[in-house]
């Protein structure tokens, strides 16, 4: 998947979209991105600065110096708030009871810019470094940075914890050393406590590409020095950044007076598409009816005219990549049932269908109702007045939005035409999986082939299956046994990986339904996911105009055999959740699930995602259950970060595919969720008004 494309104009490059390495970068705002430090956040060499990259910048960095490797993923959550997830490997740091030769550590940072920079005042940022967990890198700071002229930037700050460990000038209380819970809990008892030390530095842009940096570090590297890994001769560090055209930062630096380090930082921004608006072919234009033609109702008495209109419509939709399923045609109104498998922006699919209808429906038809069907059930019904389409084709899209009706397609959706069902889809495709953070082998990968098929017995009754066969990789060599005080509902993943080859990834019969207005249902039975089989039922309440949805899910599942064939083990559980989903309307989306998890534990999951109308999503979640932290084990409770990258964004042409990257803190047995294929909410919301309104600019594309 490491395809590099320089493109003729070199506007955007994308190396790969896998895992931690989001090696895509869009250069539009490259000049505004500040220099990053070895921790993977804005900074000098080791010390932070107060600068912030543009909103939504997603940065990946890799640094190496003196046996320490740091890989970090940073996201500018809001214009003034950013977060970092970091995975570090320190060669030779071997605490007692530790069995590996390299110490691996995950850490999270948060930074908030208290003051933005103006002509008169510096930017001021407050930061928490490694604020969850064991606190190897734990430190807090308050830092000010001021740009002077076009080339010089000076920084000064005060650090606590690790950043207050060299030449402290004072102390605020005492800083506790013991870890809260089993790690993985915010270390709030330490924040801004203990010794405080000053740090400072500057950066000077020699040319647009080359920047020189120098800093006085307040980090004594106490732990590393204690293990004899670092011999800190000097607090002065020096560095050079070279910035490539796309914004990529290459750095070389000297540390402690005797170490040389190197680093690369790549930036991307979900807001900057590869090719804004896409490069797919043009839609057909709206056909404007001639004056007086709407009065002609002659066709209504001719049965051939109706079927003729339907078949022309079907052919024309196919050219747009849309699937016609049925049509309800009356003298003044045409209701279309269709499936969109092409455009990630449903507004674009709807806009194209509407234009096709303007060219194929009899002139007397004044109203077009378009009902995109997902899993055989209707979501929203989108209603256009034909005259609005004719009149507003060359106007801004929001004028059409103001004239568009959104209602529930329940009970008004045409039946599929005879012959559309049963239907069979299949695909054979390669897959690529990467897993991280196994101390025996920090990066593991496997690649193989996946054969999958869906047989639609009825529009809303589908038999679905998927078989995976590994061709190459080392994921199956994971041997580490994970200790657990709970039923081993997830921690046997290594065995599942090892023995399940080939594996039946899922084999299910699923019924989707519409029990009533605003209500959606799902019942699934079979081999639901790689580790569990059983039955699962779900109900979702989601009005078409609403930003709020409520759901309930109940499952009875039994653990599958490790070989992932048909056998079952003895462990079973009744579990499920009630869920609330809310689209805050400002690009943020929240979800709360309360219920019982796989190990029989009770608790709740809170998720918060920043969503972009082009399909990108960057979010985090945490699950806390009644499992005591000591029983949960390392990490104390389940939490993680997730990123969704739409393929369309990367390749600049229509695709509904997305790449999902989940960075889960630790796979443990507490707070474990069932990994179902077809949860209702994400599909149902796609055609509802809040989602369509965000991407409405695409309606005329």
């Amino acid at each position: 998947m490491n395809k590099q494309d320089k493109g003729r104009t070199g506007r955007t490059r994308c190396l790969a979209t896998t895992a931690l390495t989001l090696l895509c970068y869009a250069p539009a705002q490259a000049q505004d991105i500040p220099s990053f430090n070895t921790y993977g956040g804005p900074g000098l060499i080791d010390m932070p600065t107060a600068h912030m990259p543009p909103d939504a910048t997603l940065s990946t960095s890799f640094s190496y110096s003196g046996g320490t490797t740091r890989s970090a993923l940073s996201f500018q959550i809001l214009p003034r708030l950013s977060g970092t997830f970091r995975y570090s490997a320190i060669d030779g740091l071997i605490p007692p009871t530790y069995t590996h030769s390299t110490y691996y550590d995950r850490s999270f940072d948060l930074r908030y810019q208290l003051l933005t920079e103006t002509d008169m005042r510096p930017a001021v940022t407050i930061g928490l470094q490694d604020f969850i967990g064991t606190g190897l890198y734990g430190g807090e700071y308050i830092v000010a940075s001021k740009t002077i002229g076009n080339r010089l930037s000076v920084t000064g700050g005060l650090g606590w914890g690790r950043l207050g460990s060299y030449n402290a000038i004072g102390s605020i209380g005492t800083r506790p050393a013991e870890v809260l819970g089993q790690g993985g809990v915010p270390t709030y008892d330490r924040w801004f406590r203990g010794d405080v030390a000053p740090f400072a530095g500057l950066s000077y842009k020699v040319t647009d590409q080359l920047t020189f940096k120098a800093e006085y570090s307040s980090d004594a590297y106490v732990t590393e020095a204690g293990y004899g890994l670092v011999n800190r001769e000097s607090p002065w560090n020096f560095g050079l950044d070279y910035r490539l055209k796309g914004g990529t930062q290459l750095s070389l630096y000297s540390m402690h007076g005797n170490e040389i380090g190197a680093m690369v930082t790549l930036h991307t921004n979900p807001r900057n598409a590869t090719l804004p608006g896409g490069s797919e072919t043009a839609p057909v234009p709206v056909a404007v009816r001639s004056a007086g033609s709407a009065a002609d109702l002659g066709w209504t008495t001719d049965p051939a005219a109706r079927s003729g209109a339907a078949s022309t419509l079907s052919t024309a939709l196919k050219k747009e990549g849309l699937t016609y399923e049925g049509l309800d045609l009356t003298p003044r109104k045409a209701t279309l049932r269709m499936v969109n498998n092409r455009y990630i922006a449903d507004a674009q699919a709807i806009g194209r269908a509407a234009r096709v209808m303007s060219r194929t429906m009899p002139a007397s038809v004044e109203q077009f109702v378009i009902i995109p069907v997902v899993n055989g059930v209707a979501g929203a019904a989108i209603t256009f007045n034909r005259r609005d389409l004719e009149r507003l084709e060359n106007a801004p899209a929001d004028e059409l939005l103001a004239r568009t009706g959104f209602s529930d397609g329940y009970a008004i959706t045409p039946k599929p035409d005879a012959g559309v069902y049963p239907r069979f889809n299949w695909s054979l495709s390669p897959y690529f999986k990467v897993s991280f953070f196994d101390p025996d082998s920090p990066v593991r990968g496997s690649t193989g082939l996946r054969l999958q098929g869906q047989f639609y017995l009825q529009p809303n009754l589908v038999l679905s299956g998927s078989i995976g066969k590994q061709l190459a990789g080392n994921q199956d060599t994971v041997t580490a046994a994970v200790p657990s005080a709970l039923p081993k509902v997830r921690t046997d993943y290594a065995r599942y990986n090892r023995e399940g080859d080939p594996a039946i990834e899922h084999l299910t019969l699923t019924h989707f339904g519409r029990p009533g207005q605003n209500i959606y249902s799902r019942v699934s039975a079979g081999y639901l996911e790689e580790m569990y089989a059983g039955v699962s039922g779900e109900l979702l309440w989601k009005p078409v105009d609403s930003r709020l949805a409520l759901g309930a899910e109940l499952n009875y599942v039994k653990q599958r055999d490790f070989d992932q064939m048909f056998g079952l083990q003895s462990y079973d559980v009744v579990m499920g959740h009630v869920s609330a989903y809310y689209d805050f309307g400002n690009g943020f989306h929240g979800q709360l699930d309360v219920g019982r998890y796989l190990a029989g534990d009770y608790g709740a999951t809170v998720s918060l995602d920043r969503e972009f109308a082009n399909g990108w999503r960057v979010g985090a979640y945490a699950t806390v259950t009644d499992v005591p932290f000591d029983d949960f084990g390392e990490g104390s409770f389940d939490k993680g970060v997730r990123v969704t990258v739409p393929l369309e964004w990367a390749i600049g042409r229509p695709s509904k595919k997305t790449n999902n990257i989940n960075i889960r803190s630790l796979t443990r047995d507490g707070g474990a969720q069932l990994d179902l294929q077809d949860r209702l909410y994400e599909k149902v919301r796609e055609t509802h008004r809040p989602d369509l309104a965000k991407e409405w600019g695409r309606v005329w594309r």
Binding site: Q182, F437, L666
Partner: protein, 219 residues
């Protein structure tokens, strides 16, 4: 301090084959990656098409579009009319919409002009009069939101002469339009007939596409 151990599963949407219409097949994805960017071959052929052949091939209105970006040229044929707006298409389904010869929309060219309000400039240009006007041009950004560019434009009539291209031969006057926004500016020019038709022009399309020459071959 404890060892860390977690698993991260990254599923990567790779291309495959099958009947599933949601799946891009391998070839189209590879082609997509290769063609990504603003390759003008998308819009037609790089060699200028033969005007005689084009005129013989249809009886409808015809125009020639040449992109400054890389010199690619494509013949476009009228496929629809909506009031004053006429939409022209290349053979491979890229379209440009004109209002009396002024470009107001493109589709399928990349960084498409989604819609435009050019009434002020257009009235001056068609009347071959000097003056100032505001021009609004709308594009989609990376998040699919509509971004509006607002230009302040100055229109100036210039020299008169003859314009002859394809089936068009008319006495025309050159009219220039200089437009400026906070971020950018461009110089457009138009050859306008006495009845207010633009028969040849050099217009600005989009930030990524830049300028293009449009020649009317048959009105």
């Amino acid at each position: 301090m404890k060892p860390v151990f977690a698993i991260l599963a990254a599923t990567v949407a790779l291309a495959g084959c099958g009947t599933d219409t949601g799946q891009n097949d391998m070839k189209s994805v590879l082609v997509g990656i290769k063609e990504r960017g603003l390759k003008v071959e998308d819009a037609g052929t790089t060699a200028a098409p033969d005007v005689g052949t084009m005129l013989a091939g249809t009886t409808g209105p015809l125009r020639l579009v040449a992109f400054d970006l890389d010199g690619a040229t494509a013949g476009v044929q009228q496929i629809a009319r909506n009031g004053a707006y006429r939409t022209f298409a290349t053979a491979d389904r890229r379209t440009i919409t004109f209002e009396h010869g002024m470009m107001t929309a493109t589709r399928g060219l990349g960084n498409d002009l989604m819609s435009a309000n050019v009434d002020g400039s257009l009235a001056l240009i068609r009347a071959r009069k000097g003056g100032t006007a505001v021009r609004i041009m709308r594009y989609l950004d990376g998040e699919n939101a509509t971004q509006t560019l607002r230009f302040d434009c100055t229109v100036k009539p210039g020299a008169t002469g003859m314009t002859a291209n394809g089936a068009v031969k008319a006495a025309t006057q050159q009219v220039t339009e200089y437009c400026k926004s906070d971020a950018r500016s461009f110089n457009a020019s138009y050859a306008v007939t006495s009845d207010g038709e633009i028969v040849a022009s050099h217009q600005w399309m989009s930030p990524a596409r830049g300028m293009a020459k449009i020649t009317v071959l048959r009105r």
